[in-house]
């Protein structure tokens, strides 16, 4: 068990209250993505998201075994881990979609599970492996997400148009989501997560099945969003992407946090991928499978 779980040092970041974003309810200027909501948070200066001692078991299998993670406000946080590491379970518990067996989740310093309905307003979520209300058209789905957040009609209309343009779905705004491809579905779900300009954006595998051009567009949206004072948490399998895109990273395996901190701290002078393989283990080296070499016969 590696013991380099570090609490990241307080990185000077523009606090959410200094962001230039639009106030909730205002119509954003056309063509721009909603900026994170501003105004004094529940307790300014608190980390955007902090998880303490999260546990969750499914039957006999412990999926998450005591995860502690502090995600500073204004950070672009990557969550990496092998398949079945507990990333999705952790993110589900952090966003109110799955009740932890033990532990607390603080969003901007406020306990999520104590008052889920109030706290969820400041979270934008893109879960992995779930359906959408796919008998709605793309535009209807984003509108639905916006109205559920309590936004008024002009705001929702403007933001829906902007977001669909930003993720490149304007052409397909009137197509049923059930007829979307996997990548398009991811993109429309991302638009749903962004529509209320949350303080914290939690995205589970946002780049899966998304083509490179769309992925670049999404990355740009997310960077703009962080620059505006928002906090983004993404999980991914792709180390290279996380190393380039994120400023913080946590490595999770078998339900534990193996390392966490700024990307430079965690990778310690090597590539994130090498460091990841070191931490997680499981690389099988040696002769390989001799009979797989077709040239041998």
């Amino acid at each position: 068990m590696l013991d380099d779980v570090t609490t990241p040092p307080p990185v000077p970041q523009p606090g959410p209250e200094t962001g230039p974003g639009a106030a909730p309810g205002a119509v954003p200027t056309s063509g721009s993505v909603p900026q994170p909501a501003t105004g004094p948070g529940p307790s300014a200066g608190a980390p955007a998201l902090s998880l303490h001692g999260l546990w969750r078991r499914f039957g006999d299998k412990v999926a998450v075994a005591g995860v502690d993670l502090v995600i500073p406000a204004g950070s672009f946080y990557g969550l990496v881990g092998p398949n079945g590491a507990g990333k999705t379970t952790t993110l589900s518990m952090a966003t109110g979609l799955l009740r932890p067996d033990a532990g607390t989740v603080l969003v901007g310093g406020v306990d999520l599970w104590a008052d889920p309905v109030r706290v969820k307003r400041s979270l934008g979520v893109l879960p992995d492996g779930v359906r959408l209300f796919d008998r709605l058209t793309g535009a209807q789905l984003v509108t639905y997400a916006g109205l559920l957040q309590g936004l008024d009609r002009p705001t929702v209309e403007g933001r829906t148009r902007d977001l669909l343009a930003a993720v490149g779905l304007t052409q397909d705004a009137d197509t049923l989501v059930v007829d979307y491809s996997a990548g398009m579905t991811k993109k429309v779900a991302l638009a749903c997560a962004l529509v209320h300009a949350p303080r914290v954006l939690v995205l589970d595998e946002p780049f899966e099945a998304v083509d490179p051009v769309s992925a670049a567009n999404i990355r740009e949206i997310l960077h703009q969003y962080v620059d505006g004072g928002g906090t983004v948490v993404v999980s991914s399998h792709v180390m290279d992407l996380v190393q380039r895109m994120c400023d913080h990273v946590a490595v999770i395996a078998q339900g534990h946090v193996l390392a966490a901190g700024t990307v430079d701290e965690v990778r310690a002078g090597r590539s994130l991928e090498e460091r990841f393989v070191d931490l997680v283990g499981g690389r099988i080296s040696g002769e390989g499978i001799a009979w797989l070499r077709t040239s041998s016969d």
Partner: protein, 518 residues
């Protein structure tokens, strides 16, 4: 290879059962039902041996034809029921076609319907215990018949897969197919009422015995009648049917393997639809979403499609009596209760509500408003229509009272039920008839409990209405209307409140359960 496929099917069956107790329970219930049918069929076949030759032949041919036809057609409607051994999964293994076909044919017989069909068919010689030669012929015919069932069923499903696989087509087929089932009662009674039903059976049997579906079962009767030429001809028709089905299946399989089915259809809808009509609030949004689904999702559309059929069925069931008058209240209950599995119908898409700052009561009201508005309109229309048809306008207030009471009460009870339990249901686009494995016991229990609760809670208005209609008392009718409206409204508010707080408490657990179904 063939043995491997059969063993694979058995392993899949066993692993499926290991997943949950409910699945075992469902399997046991299915097996008991199958056993019941089998025992009934065997006893019936033996008893038929006492009947005279003509009756015996006709009954066997007609029943056998229905069996084959059922195998060929039901899977088209109930498509996706058995996709455990989808040929496409074997595409990467270089299996000889002959082995694949044989294996899939035999594997298709594993399962309750297959076993019951095979054993019933093999029991047909029992009907010929007085004519040993015919009994042997019956066994031969039964073998051909069973092959015609399974191979024919594979042929029709595989050949029509590209058409049925298209989302829109499947939805329409499924929605339309429920109508004959609804009208089965009236059709049966109409057939039974016709004076010369025996004559029609004889004619039907005579024609069917020369068709691919009836020929295998007509071999033994022909032998018993001493018509050897006819027997050989029927056997030839049966074998030819199996061979043709095999060719069609093989050809269609080639096509599916090289040109996979796409679910196709590029449905578009202009503008925001209901989202532009309903108020821009969370309740309005949830109502708009629900209204959209009532129109676009066949699972809800079926509840609406049943409504016009209800008075017709009741009218046929006892023509001229006042039974028809209950059509309005029954409709109210059917529409009100239709949201009792609403969260389960959402499936994992329910996360959208869970991730948003939406109160449980908000969620409940949005769903109730749409079902309630629809139920109210339909209930009033059906009640007024049946009252007019039966010329009982004196009963109108009482029936509206009972209908209103049942509608509001069932909406309230459904709001609680759908927040308490989720069970695997068909997702939109899947076949509405293919009940999911493991759903039986949980859905049965919750539905029964809900029925009972609605029955007890709506009893005051219903009993008053019954008295008013039977006594032809106008005063009692108005009392029933008042009681139905007031008590129903109270129960609805209580149901929504309770359901809302249950939903807030259990929402994450429901989502987790639904994730485990996928």
């Amino acid at each position: 290879m063939v043995a491997h496929l059969v063993r694979l099917k058995l392993t899949l069956l066993r692993n499926g059962l290991r997943r949950s107790v409910w699945q075992v329970l469902g399997m046991v219930v299915g097996a008991l039902y199958g056993l019941f049918l089998l025992v009934g069929a065997v006893v019936g076949l033996f008893a038929l041996g006492f009947a005279d030759l003509q009756v015996r032949s006709d009954v066997l041919v007609v029943a056998g034809s229905l069996l084959v036809l059922g195998w060929w057609l039901i899977p088209l409607v109930a498509f996706g029921v058995d996709a455990t051994l989808d040929p496409r999964r074997f595409i990467t293994f270089g299996l000889p076609r002959r082995d694949l076909l044989t294996g899939l044919t035999l594997a298709g017989l594993i399962g309750v319907p297959g076993v019951v069909t095979a054993l019933t068919a093999l029991a047909t010689p029992l009907s010929w215990w007085r004519e040993p030669a015919a009994a042997v012929a019956a066994l031969l015919g039964a073998l051909v018949g069973v092959l015609a069932c399974t191979i024919g069923s594979r042929a029709t499903t595989t050949a029509l897969a590209p058409v049925i696989g298209r989302r829109r087509v499947r939805e329409v087929v499924a929605a339309v197919a429920i109508l004959p089932i609804m009208f089965l009662g009236p059709i049966m009674s109409a057939v039974a009422d016709s004076a010369d039903r025996l004559a029609s059976l004889v004619t039907a049997a005579r024609v069917l015995s020369w068709t691919p579906i009836g020929a295998p079962w007509a071999v033994a009767p022909a032998v018993a009648a001493g018509d050897w030429l006819g027997a050989v001809a029927r056997l030839a028709i049966g074998v030819a049917t199996v061979l043709v089905a095999l060719r069609v299946w093989s050809w269609a399989l080639d096509r599916t393997l090289t040109d996979p089915v796409s679910s196709g259809g590029d449905a578009r809808a202009r503008g925001l639809g209901w989202f532009g009509v309903m108020p821009a609030t969370p309740v309005g949004a949830i109502a708009a979403r629900a209204a959209t689904y009532w129109l676009r999702d066949p699972r809800y559309a079926i509840a609406v499609a049943i409504v016009p059929a209800m008075p017709i069925v009741l009218g046929f069931a006892s023509p001229g009596s006042s039974l028809l008058l209950i059509a309005g209240p029954v409709t109210a209950f059917v529409v009100g209760w239709s949201i009792s599995a609403d969260v389960a119908y959402d499936g994992t898409a329910f996360w959208t509500h869970l991730a948003a700052p939406v109160r449980g009561v908000t969620d409940r009201w949005g769903r109730v408003l749409v079902a309630g508005a629809l139920g109210l309109v339909v209930m009033v229309l059906v009640t007024v229509g049946t009252v007019w048809y039966a010329d009982r306008f004196d009963a109108l207030p009482a029936l509206l009272g009972a209908g209103l009471g049942l509608l509001l009460t069932s909406l309230g009870a459904a709001s609680v039920t759908s927040a308490l339990v989720v069970y695997p249901v068909q997702m939109p686009g899947e076949n509405p008839f293919a009940t999911k494995q493991g759903a039986n016991a949980a859905s049965f229990t919750s539905q029964m409990a809900g029925f009972t609760a609605v029955g007890v809670l709506a009893a005051p208005a219903a009993v008053l209405a019954l008295l008013a209609v039977s006594q032809r008392s106008a005063a009692l009718g108005w009392v029933a209307l008042a009681v139905g409206a007031v008590l129903g409204a109270v129960l609805l508010v209580v149901g929504v409140r309770v359901g809302g707080s249950v939903l807030e408490r259990r929402g994450p657990d429901l989502l987790q359960r639904m994730r485990s179904f996928d």
